[in-house]
Protein backbone atom coordinates (compact mmCIF):
# COMPACT_ATOMS: atom_id res chain seq x y z
CA UNK A 1 0.00 0.00 0.00
CA UNK A 2 1.46 3.29 -1.02
CA UNK A 3 1.11 6.41 1.04
CA UNK A 4 -1.59 8.70 -0.28
CA UNK A 5 -0.08 11.56 -2.24
CA UNK A 6 -0.95 15.09 -1.19
CA UNK A 7 -3.81 16.46 -3.34
CA UNK A 8 -2.47 18.19 -6.44
CA UNK A 9 -2.74 21.93 -6.18
CA UNK A 10 -5.45 23.34 -8.40
CA UNK A 11 -3.60 25.50 -10.90
CA UNK A 12 -5.51 28.57 -12.04
CA UNK A 13 -4.99 27.82 -15.76
CA UNK A 14 -7.24 29.23 -18.48
CA UNK A 15 -8.64 25.75 -19.10
CA UNK A 16 -9.84 25.26 -15.59
CA UNK A 17 -11.61 28.61 -15.61
CA UNK A 18 -13.28 27.78 -18.93
CA UNK A 19 -14.40 24.45 -17.59
CA UNK A 20 -15.85 26.06 -14.53
CA UNK A 21 -17.77 28.50 -16.69
CA UNK A 22 -18.99 25.72 -18.99
CA UNK A 23 -20.18 23.76 -16.02
CA UNK A 24 -22.56 26.55 -15.16
CA UNK A 25 -24.36 26.62 -18.59
CA UNK A 26 -27.50 24.47 -18.59
CA UNK A 27 -27.07 21.43 -20.87
CA UNK A 28 -30.20 22.06 -22.89
CA UNK A 29 -28.83 25.40 -24.03
CA UNK A 30 -26.03 23.66 -25.91
CA UNK A 31 -28.33 22.55 -28.68
CA UNK A 32 -29.61 26.08 -29.21
CA UNK A 33 -26.12 27.57 -29.07
CA UNK A 34 -24.85 24.95 -31.53
CA UNK A 35 -27.66 25.67 -33.99
CA UNK A 36 -27.05 29.39 -33.72
CA UNK A 37 -23.36 28.97 -34.46
CA UNK A 38 -24.10 26.71 -37.44
CA UNK A 39 -26.56 29.19 -38.95
CA UNK A 40 -24.12 32.02 -38.45
CA UNK A 41 -21.39 30.06 -40.21
CA UNK A 42 -23.59 29.13 -43.17
CA UNK A 43 -24.79 32.71 -43.47
CA UNK A 44 -21.17 33.77 -43.67
CA UNK A 45 -20.69 31.32 -46.58
CA UNK A 46 -23.70 32.42 -48.56
CA UNK A 47 -26.69 30.73 -46.94
CA UNK A 48 -28.36 27.32 -47.13
CA UNK A 49 -30.18 27.70 -50.45
CA UNK A 50 -28.83 25.59 -53.36
CA UNK A 51 -26.21 27.57 -55.20
CA UNK A 52 -27.48 28.75 -58.56
CA UNK A 53 -25.73 26.81 -61.33
CA UNK A 54 -23.12 28.96 -62.96
CA UNK A 55 -24.06 29.67 -66.55
CA UNK A 56 -22.02 27.46 -68.84
CA UNK A 57 -19.68 29.42 -71.12
CA UNK A 58 -20.57 29.50 -74.80
CA UNK A 59 -18.01 28.08 -77.15
CA UNK A 60 -17.45 29.06 -80.76
CA UNK A 61 -17.73 26.40 -83.42
CA UNK A 62 -14.22 25.04 -83.79
CA UNK A 63 -13.06 26.46 -80.48
CA UNK A 64 -11.36 23.95 -78.18
CA UNK A 65 -12.50 23.23 -74.65
CA UNK A 66 -9.91 21.45 -72.53
CA UNK A 67 -11.23 19.13 -69.85
CA UNK A 68 -9.37 16.66 -67.64
CA UNK A 69 -9.69 13.87 -70.22
CA UNK A 70 -10.31 15.38 -73.65
CA UNK A 71 -9.54 18.69 -75.30
CA UNK A 72 -12.06 18.92 -78.06
CA UNK A 73 -13.72 21.27 -80.50
CA UNK A 74 -16.99 20.72 -82.31
CA UNK A 75 -16.52 21.53 -85.97
CA UNK A 76 -19.64 20.51 -87.86
CA UNK A 77 -22.96 18.77 -87.37
CA UNK A 78 -24.65 16.51 -89.89
CA UNK A 79 -27.95 14.70 -90.13
CA UNK A 80 -27.82 11.41 -92.04
CA UNK A 81 -30.41 8.79 -92.84
CA UNK A 82 -27.83 6.14 -91.94
CA UNK A 83 -24.11 6.04 -91.17
CA UNK A 84 -22.88 2.46 -91.05
CA UNK A 85 -19.30 3.65 -91.49
CA UNK A 86 -19.44 5.31 -88.11
CA UNK A 87 -21.13 2.31 -86.53
CA UNK A 88 -24.57 3.94 -86.43
CA UNK A 89 -27.55 1.78 -87.35
CA UNK A 90 -30.80 3.70 -87.01
CA UNK A 91 -34.06 1.79 -86.64
CA UNK A 92 -37.37 2.67 -88.24
CA UNK A 93 -38.20 6.25 -87.43
CA UNK A 94 -34.66 7.23 -86.53
CA UNK A 95 -31.90 9.17 -88.18
CA UNK A 96 -28.28 9.79 -87.33
CA UNK A 97 -26.94 13.03 -85.89
CA UNK A 98 -23.17 13.05 -86.40
CA UNK A 99 -20.81 15.62 -84.97
CA UNK A 100 -17.43 16.07 -86.54
CA UNK A 101 -15.00 16.88 -83.74
CA UNK A 102 -11.28 17.35 -83.28
CA UNK A 103 -10.19 15.75 -80.03
CA UNK A 104 -6.98 15.12 -78.13
CA UNK A 105 -6.62 12.84 -75.13
CA UNK A 106 -4.95 15.07 -72.52
CA UNK A 107 -4.93 12.38 -69.86
CA UNK A 108 -2.14 9.85 -69.26
CA UNK A 109 -3.64 6.65 -70.62
CA UNK A 110 -5.67 5.64 -73.68
CA UNK A 111 -9.41 6.25 -73.55
CA UNK A 112 -12.23 5.85 -76.03
CA UNK A 113 -15.95 5.79 -76.30
CA UNK A 114 -16.70 5.38 -72.61
CA UNK A 115 -14.84 8.62 -71.89
CA UNK A 116 -16.64 10.37 -74.77
CA UNK A 117 -19.94 9.29 -73.28
CA UNK A 118 -19.14 11.35 -70.19
CA UNK A 119 -17.97 14.34 -72.23
CA UNK A 120 -20.40 15.05 -75.04
CA UNK A 121 -24.17 15.33 -75.06
CA UNK A 122 -26.72 16.95 -77.36
CA UNK A 123 -29.91 18.75 -76.43
CA UNK A 124 -32.14 16.73 -78.74
CA UNK A 125 -35.10 14.89 -77.17
CA UNK A 126 -34.85 11.14 -77.67
CA UNK A 127 -31.20 11.20 -78.76
CA UNK A 128 -29.08 8.13 -77.91
CA UNK A 129 -25.31 8.28 -78.22
CA UNK A 130 -24.44 5.22 -80.23
CA UNK A 131 -20.90 5.16 -81.62
CA UNK A 132 -17.87 7.05 -82.79
CA UNK A 133 -15.31 6.52 -85.53
CA UNK A 134 -12.15 8.07 -86.91
CA UNK A 135 -12.64 10.19 -89.99
CA UNK A 136 -9.28 9.24 -91.58
CA UNK A 137 -9.47 5.45 -91.64
CA UNK A 138 -13.03 4.79 -90.41
CA UNK A 139 -11.83 2.79 -87.38
CA UNK A 140 -14.89 2.35 -85.18
CA UNK A 141 -14.65 2.57 -81.40
CA UNK A 142 -11.10 3.99 -81.59
CA UNK A 143 -8.85 4.29 -78.58
CA UNK A 144 -7.38 7.76 -78.39
CA UNK A 145 -3.73 7.75 -77.35
CA UNK A 146 -2.49 10.50 -75.00
CA UNK A 147 -1.24 13.57 -76.83
CA UNK A 148 -2.33 12.41 -80.29
CA UNK A 149 -5.15 14.50 -81.77
CA UNK A 150 -7.68 12.93 -84.10
CA UNK A 151 -10.78 13.91 -86.07
CA UNK A 152 -13.78 11.83 -85.14
CA UNK A 153 -17.39 11.45 -86.08
CA UNK A 154 -19.54 10.96 -82.98
CA UNK A 155 -23.01 9.64 -83.72
CA UNK A 156 -26.38 9.81 -81.98
CA UNK A 157 -29.59 8.09 -83.06
CA UNK A 158 -32.35 10.70 -83.05
CA UNK A 159 -36.06 10.42 -83.79
CA UNK A 160 -36.99 11.35 -87.36
CA UNK A 161 -39.02 14.37 -86.32
CA UNK A 162 -36.57 15.74 -83.75
CA UNK A 163 -34.28 17.50 -86.19
CA UNK A 164 -34.32 18.80 -89.71
CA UNK A 165 -31.61 20.20 -91.93
CA UNK A 166 -30.87 23.81 -91.01
CA UNK A 167 -32.01 23.46 -87.39
CA UNK A 168 -29.61 24.50 -84.66
CA UNK A 169 -28.36 21.90 -82.23
CA UNK A 170 -26.82 22.66 -78.84
CA UNK A 171 -23.93 20.45 -77.82
CA UNK A 172 -22.76 20.36 -74.21
CA UNK A 173 -19.15 19.56 -73.41
CA UNK A 174 -18.70 18.26 -69.87
CA UNK A 175 -15.73 17.64 -67.63
CA UNK A 176 -15.85 14.16 -66.06
CA UNK A 177 -13.99 13.07 -62.95
CA UNK A 178 -11.57 10.17 -62.80
CA UNK A 179 -12.73 7.54 -60.35
CA UNK A 180 -10.43 4.89 -58.96
CA UNK A 181 -11.72 1.58 -57.73
CA UNK A 182 -11.54 0.94 -54.02
CA UNK A 183 -12.14 -2.19 -51.96
CA UNK A 184 -13.90 -4.65 -54.25
CA UNK A 185 -13.63 -2.63 -57.47
CA UNK A 186 -10.47 -1.93 -59.38
CA UNK A 187 -9.25 0.07 -62.31
CA UNK A 188 -10.11 3.62 -63.23
CA UNK A 189 -13.00 5.11 -65.12
CA UNK A 190 -14.49 8.50 -65.91
CA UNK A 191 -17.76 9.56 -64.33
CA UNK A 192 -19.85 12.47 -63.02
CA UNK A 193 -19.81 14.80 -66.02
CA UNK A 194 -20.06 18.48 -65.10
CA UNK A 195 -21.27 20.68 -68.01
CA UNK A 196 -18.47 23.10 -68.75
CA UNK A 197 -19.04 24.53 -72.20
CA UNK A 198 -21.75 24.74 -74.79
CA UNK A 199 -21.70 25.22 -78.52
CA UNK A 200 -24.64 25.77 -80.85
CA UNK A 201 -24.30 25.04 -84.52
CA UNK A 202 -26.47 24.40 -87.55
CA UNK A 203 -27.18 20.86 -88.69
CA UNK A 204 -26.44 20.02 -92.32
CA UNK A 205 -28.70 17.35 -93.77
CA UNK A 206 -27.08 14.78 -96.01
CA UNK A 207 -29.56 12.47 -97.66
CA UNK A 208 -28.28 8.93 -98.15
CA UNK A 209 -24.99 8.56 -96.29
CA UNK A 210 -21.62 10.15 -96.79
Amino acid sequence: MTTPEPPARRRASPFSRLRAAADRVPTKWFAAIGTGLFLAATAAFGGLATAAAEPVPELEVGETHTGPLYALSVDRAFLFDELAEAGAYPAEGQRVLALRITVENVWTSPEGFSGMRETLSVAVPGAELTSMARIDDATTNPRLQPGVPAELAVAWLVPDDALAGGDEVTVTVSDPTLRTGQAVTSGQWWDDPVPSARVTLPVEYRPGDE
Partner: protein, 180 residues
Amino acid sequence: MKRWLSWTLGVVFVVGAWLVALATPPEDAREAPFTVTASVGEEATGRDIVATVEGLRRADTVTDGAWSAEGNWLVVDLSISSRVSPRTLAHATLQIGDRTFAATERADGSLYQQGLTAGVPRSGSIAFELPADLDAETAVLRLATLSDVRLDSVVEAAVPLSEIERSGEAELRPREWARP
Protein backbone atom coordinates in the same frame (compact mmCIF):
# COMPACT_ATOMS: atom_id res chain seq x y z
CA MET B 1 11.44 3.66 -15.00
CA LYS B 2 13.93 6.43 -15.29
CA ARG B 3 12.62 9.40 -17.21
CA TRP B 4 15.53 9.57 -19.70
CA LEU B 5 15.12 5.86 -20.43
CA SER B 6 11.45 6.12 -21.21
CA TRP B 7 12.03 9.14 -23.43
CA THR B 8 14.81 7.36 -25.34
CA LEU B 9 12.68 4.28 -25.81
CA GLY B 10 9.84 6.46 -27.04
CA VAL B 11 12.05 8.11 -29.64
CA VAL B 12 13.50 4.76 -30.68
CA PHE B 13 10.02 3.35 -31.24
CA VAL B 14 8.90 6.36 -33.25
CA VAL B 15 11.97 6.13 -35.47
CA GLY B 16 11.42 2.39 -35.79
CA ALA B 17 7.82 2.96 -36.87
CA TRP B 18 8.99 5.45 -39.46
CA LEU B 19 11.48 2.91 -40.84
CA VAL B 20 8.79 0.26 -41.02
CA ALA B 21 6.52 2.67 -42.88
CA LEU B 22 9.32 3.39 -45.34
CA ALA B 23 9.88 -0.28 -45.98
CA THR B 24 6.20 -1.07 -46.45
CA PRO B 25 5.33 -1.82 -50.09
CA PRO B 26 2.58 0.33 -51.67
CA GLU B 27 -1.13 -0.63 -51.54
CA ASP B 28 -1.17 -2.27 -54.92
CA ALA B 29 2.03 -4.29 -54.45
CA ARG B 30 -0.11 -7.24 -53.40
CA GLU B 31 -1.50 -7.44 -56.88
CA ALA B 32 1.56 -6.38 -58.86
CA PRO B 33 2.28 -8.36 -62.00
CA PHE B 34 5.20 -10.80 -62.26
CA THR B 35 7.65 -9.11 -64.57
CA VAL B 36 10.02 -10.91 -66.91
CA THR B 37 12.62 -8.53 -68.33
CA ALA B 38 13.77 -9.01 -71.89
CA SER B 39 16.32 -7.36 -74.11
CA VAL B 40 16.00 -7.04 -77.85
CA GLY B 41 16.70 -10.35 -79.56
CA GLU B 42 16.34 -12.37 -76.39
CA GLU B 43 13.42 -14.69 -75.75
CA ALA B 44 11.54 -14.01 -72.52
CA THR B 45 9.28 -16.60 -70.91
CA GLY B 46 6.44 -15.80 -68.56
CA ARG B 47 3.86 -18.10 -67.06
CA ASP B 48 2.00 -18.55 -70.33
CA ILE B 49 3.74 -16.21 -72.74
CA VAL B 50 6.99 -16.46 -74.70
CA ALA B 51 8.01 -13.31 -76.54
CA THR B 52 11.06 -12.11 -78.45
CA VAL B 53 11.37 -8.47 -79.45
CA GLU B 54 13.16 -8.67 -82.76
CA GLY B 55 13.22 -5.09 -83.91
CA LEU B 56 12.35 -1.51 -83.04
CA ARG B 57 11.68 1.08 -85.73
CA ARG B 58 10.41 4.64 -85.77
CA ALA B 59 8.71 6.27 -88.74
CA ASP B 60 6.54 9.16 -89.86
CA THR B 61 4.24 6.86 -91.80
CA VAL B 62 3.23 3.30 -91.05
CA THR B 63 1.70 1.01 -93.66
CA ASP B 64 -0.08 -2.31 -93.46
CA GLY B 65 -1.23 -3.45 -96.86
CA ALA B 66 -3.66 -0.84 -98.11
CA TRP B 67 -3.83 1.01 -94.79
CA SER B 68 -1.40 3.73 -93.86
CA ALA B 69 -1.26 6.48 -91.27
CA GLU B 70 0.99 9.40 -90.55
CA GLY B 71 2.26 10.36 -87.15
CA ASN B 72 5.08 9.67 -84.73
CA TRP B 73 5.11 5.87 -84.88
CA LEU B 74 7.11 3.24 -83.03
CA VAL B 75 6.94 -0.20 -84.65
CA VAL B 76 7.88 -3.24 -82.57
CA ASP B 77 8.71 -6.40 -84.54
CA LEU B 78 8.20 -9.49 -82.46
CA SER B 79 7.71 -13.24 -82.33
CA ILE B 80 5.30 -14.43 -79.77
CA SER B 81 3.64 -17.62 -78.57
CA SER B 82 2.02 -18.91 -75.46
CA ARG B 83 3.58 -21.59 -73.33
CA VAL B 84 0.78 -23.85 -72.20
CA SER B 85 -2.66 -22.84 -73.45
CA PRO B 86 -4.34 -20.84 -76.21
CA ARG B 87 -4.00 -17.12 -75.40
CA THR B 88 -4.30 -13.66 -76.93
CA LEU B 89 -1.90 -10.73 -77.01
CA ALA B 90 -4.40 -8.68 -75.05
CA HIS B 91 -1.99 -6.25 -73.39
CA ALA B 92 0.65 -4.36 -75.34
CA THR B 93 1.57 -1.03 -73.82
CA LEU B 94 4.39 1.47 -73.96
CA GLN B 95 5.05 3.54 -70.86
CA ILE B 96 6.81 6.86 -71.32
CA GLY B 97 7.16 8.84 -68.13
CA ASP B 98 3.75 8.95 -66.53
CA ARG B 99 1.88 8.32 -69.80
CA THR B 100 0.85 4.92 -71.12
CA PHE B 101 0.17 4.17 -74.76
CA ALA B 102 -1.59 1.10 -76.11
CA ALA B 103 -0.67 -0.65 -79.37
CA THR B 104 -2.81 0.61 -82.19
CA GLU B 105 -5.93 -1.27 -83.15
CA ARG B 106 -6.09 0.64 -86.45
CA ALA B 107 -3.85 -1.80 -88.33
CA ASP B 108 -5.73 -5.05 -88.98
CA GLY B 109 -2.51 -6.91 -89.83
CA SER B 110 -0.73 -6.28 -86.53
CA LEU B 111 -0.20 -8.91 -83.84
CA TYR B 112 -2.13 -6.90 -81.29
CA GLN B 113 -5.09 -8.88 -79.92
CA GLN B 114 -4.19 -11.88 -82.04
CA GLY B 115 -4.23 -15.48 -80.86
CA LEU B 116 -1.15 -17.15 -79.40
CA THR B 117 -0.48 -20.86 -79.85
CA ALA B 118 1.37 -22.98 -77.30
CA GLY B 119 4.84 -23.75 -78.57
CA VAL B 120 4.36 -22.32 -82.07
CA PRO B 121 5.52 -18.70 -82.37
CA ARG B 122 3.85 -16.16 -84.60
CA SER B 123 5.86 -13.30 -86.04
CA GLY B 124 4.70 -9.85 -87.01
CA SER B 125 4.60 -6.31 -85.66
CA ILE B 126 2.68 -4.01 -83.38
CA ALA B 127 2.70 -0.23 -83.65
CA PHE B 128 2.34 2.61 -81.19
CA GLU B 129 1.05 6.05 -82.15
CA LEU B 130 2.93 8.66 -80.12
CA PRO B 131 2.53 12.42 -79.64
CA ALA B 132 4.26 14.54 -82.27
CA ASP B 133 6.19 16.56 -79.69
CA LEU B 134 7.56 13.58 -77.78
CA ASP B 135 11.13 14.08 -76.62
CA ALA B 136 11.54 11.24 -74.14
CA GLU B 137 14.70 9.17 -74.27
CA THR B 138 13.43 5.84 -73.02
CA ALA B 139 10.22 3.89 -72.72
CA VAL B 140 9.11 0.55 -71.30
CA LEU B 141 7.30 -1.97 -73.49
CA ARG B 142 4.97 -4.41 -71.75
CA LEU B 143 3.34 -7.50 -73.26
CA ALA B 144 0.84 -9.80 -71.58
CA THR B 145 -2.00 -12.15 -72.40
CA LEU B 146 -4.65 -10.52 -70.23
CA SER B 147 -5.59 -6.85 -70.43
CA ASP B 148 -5.77 -6.77 -66.63
CA VAL B 149 -2.18 -7.55 -65.66
CA ARG B 150 -2.64 -7.84 -61.92
CA LEU B 151 -0.94 -10.99 -60.66
CA ASP B 152 -0.13 -12.12 -64.20
CA SER B 153 3.14 -12.48 -66.09
CA VAL B 154 4.25 -9.43 -68.03
CA VAL B 155 7.19 -9.41 -70.43
CA GLU B 156 8.93 -6.06 -70.10
CA ALA B 157 11.57 -4.57 -72.38
CA ALA B 158 13.37 -1.23 -72.24
CA VAL B 159 13.03 0.80 -75.44
CA PRO B 160 15.79 3.36 -76.03
CA LEU B 161 13.60 5.76 -78.02
CA SER B 162 16.21 8.39 -78.71
CA GLU B 163 18.63 5.81 -80.14
CA ILE B 164 16.22 4.51 -82.77
CA GLU B 165 16.57 6.23 -86.11
CA ARG B 166 13.37 7.64 -87.51
CA SER B 167 12.65 6.87 -91.14
CA GLY B 168 10.02 8.13 -93.53
CA GLU B 169 7.98 4.99 -93.81
CA ALA B 170 7.78 1.65 -92.03
CA GLU B 171 5.75 -1.33 -93.14
CA LEU B 172 4.37 -3.76 -90.56
CA ARG B 173 5.87 -7.23 -90.97
CA PRO B 174 3.39 -9.73 -92.32
CA ARG B 175 1.65 -11.78 -89.68
CA GLU B 176 2.73 -15.39 -90.13
CA TRP B 177 4.05 -18.45 -88.35
CA ALA B 178 7.61 -17.67 -87.31
CA ARG B 179 10.40 -19.31 -89.25
CA PRO B 180 12.76 -20.95 -86.75
